[in-house]
Amino acid sequence: MSQKALVIDLHKCVGCHACAANCKAWNTQGDAGPLTDTNPYAKDPEGVWFNRVQTYEVGKFPEVEVVHLPKSCMHCKNAPCVEVCPTGASYKRVEDGIVLVNYDDCIGCKYCSWACPYGCREFDEFEGVMKKCTLCVDRIYNEALPEEERKPACVIACPAKARAYGDIDDPSSQASRWIAEGKGYKLMPESGADPSNHYLPKRKVNIHVDKEALLKVAHAHINAARNIACDTGSVSEDVAQP
């Protein structure tokens, strides 16, 4: 069995929304597009996005950190959305475990979205069908693209290299290695859906700050500031006296 999925490193994610933006761009322009919007260029734009990033504050000052959580369909192994679909429009592919919606069969009853514990399905009001992340099925097997670009658009876009894509059932894949090395976990495992996407937790980072090194940097800045101030001929007291 093969199960393609995404692995997202919450430690590296900087919350820039590049994955979400590139996902929207690819999927709205691709073969299965568009992903419709209301008011796209006006106040309060709304529309279908397959990937959204939420930001949380975790902990209390001073033990506090900011966590960005990019969330798209988890391609669950036990996908509850597929079980409830009355038409069979929602299905899970046997060959790679990707969960897809056949827009030609979907009647837009929204029942699948109620059954998804992660809120990863989005209704397209204009086309009247349910949509969701396709794991970029139109990229990963797309022979018209150069080999190195046959990856999900969100993975390619990520400037922090926080996203990996691969077969989580194959221990040698990059995704599996990330999970194994970074202690990958699943969101809300008690949902029973057995999500395939994994997240790598924030890690504790201890940076040793050396007083000497810190002062050196500080002095360098102060000298630079003094030079600029001298050039303009106005040396103020506090700059002149470190």
Partner: protein, 337 residues
């Protein structure tokens, strides 16, 4: 959950029609021979019971994004309650129609009652599948309870009984059946009152055992949503959440219990104590009140449904009393190292 009015109308109206039809077939089997119910009554009540699910069916189409291919929903009857509902609804209407046709044409009793029996079976199937459709969503604890199917059947029978009583009083004034139906309506209304009270109580205390900690997979008692992401509000914040303050909740619960069950209960008791009166008007009013109250009830059923995905958007209504993770006592205790 967002209260989808087309589904509210579908379940309430079809439910009333199912209740009415079940009752009148039973009355037909028991009392037509002895002349205690008239064919005229059966016909009138039968036609009324047909109009309800037809109206519900019409409403349901407004729910679909692509109603023109709604028929495709019959494919997955083996796995989806929605698919079963889509099959049972027209089947029920079909048997209702057949029953009325056989009644009208004076066909042998056996055929008519058999069609009626199949109508009852499909009506029960429809009750069960429409209720299980909600009860099967395990991520909405307010729905995933045995109270959901019990109440769908019970409330449908209550509204159906009131409408049947109205038809009996109009078409057979002064006959014993109308009098007996007063008792039935009173009993069902009282039963419904208790069961809906229980459901409200359940919803006020149910704790799903899940919190933002599970949603994010982070064991920290202080997690606060800072940003909801692109283009807010969107499907996830609108479909799964509908604002409801504690006060609004209280008012709506009182209205539901009062309009759908308490007032009709008083009316039915009044009728039971005054058998000599002509009470068609009273029972039509009672039926109207029940159906109106049930529309409010079903709408509130949606709104009270609290989907776990709301956790990600800070929209999850925690029942603080029952929630060990957020209760004061728990927060005060030191965390294990």
């Amino acid at each position: 959950m967002y209260p989808e009015m087309s589904l509210v109308f579908l379940t309430v109206l079809a439910g009333a029609g199912q209740g009415m039809f079940i009752l009148l077939v039973i009355l037909d089997a028991l009392f037509l021979k002895s002349g205690e119910v008239t064919p005229h009554f059966l016909m009138a009540a039968g036609i009324a019971s047909l109009i309800f699910p037809l109206a519900g069916m019409a409403a349901s189409f407004f729910h679909l994004g692509n109603p023109q291919r709604g028929w495709k929903a019959i494919f997955k009857w083996k796995q989806s309650w929605l698919s079963r509902e889509v099959i049972f609804l027209p089947a029920f209407v079909g048997f209702q129609f057949l029953y009325l046709l056989l009644l009208y044409s004076g066909a042998p009793e056996l055929y008519r009652l058999f069609a009626g029996f199949l109508g009852i079976v499909t009506a029960m199937g429809l009750y069960l599948s429409s209720a299980m459709l909600y009860a099967a969503i395990r991520f909405i604890k307010e729905w995933a309870t045995a109270l959901t199917p019990i109440n769908f059947v019970l409330f449908g029978l209550t509204s159906g009984a009131a409408a049947t009583a109205a038809a009996a009083h109009y078409t057979m004034p002064g006959m014993t059946i109308g009098y007996l139906l007063s008792y039935l309506v009173a009993f069902l209304a009282a039963f419904s009152l208790v069961m809906k009270g229980l459901a409200f109580q359940f919803n006020a205390t149910v704790y799903s055992g899940i919190s933002i900690k599970n949603a994010l997979g982070m064991n920290n008692p202080h997690i606060r949503l800072m940003d909801t992401g692109t283009a807010y509000p969107h499907f996830n914040t609108k479909e799964y959440f509908f604002p409801l303050t504690r006060r609004q909740n209280g008012i709506q619960q009182t209205l539901v219990l009062g309009i759908s069950f308490f007032l009709p209960l008083l009316m039915a008791l009044y009728a039971a104590w005054n058998p000599a009166l002509k009470l068609g008007g009273l029972f039509s009013t009672a039926a109207f009140l029940i159906v109106t109250g049930l529309i409010l009830e079903r709408r509130l059923f949606f709104i009270q449904g609290n989907h776990v995905q709301n956790l990600y958007y800070g929209n999850y209504r925690q029942n603080a009393v029952k929630n060990p993770a957020t209760s004061k006592a728990k927060q005060g205790t030191p965390r294990p190292k």
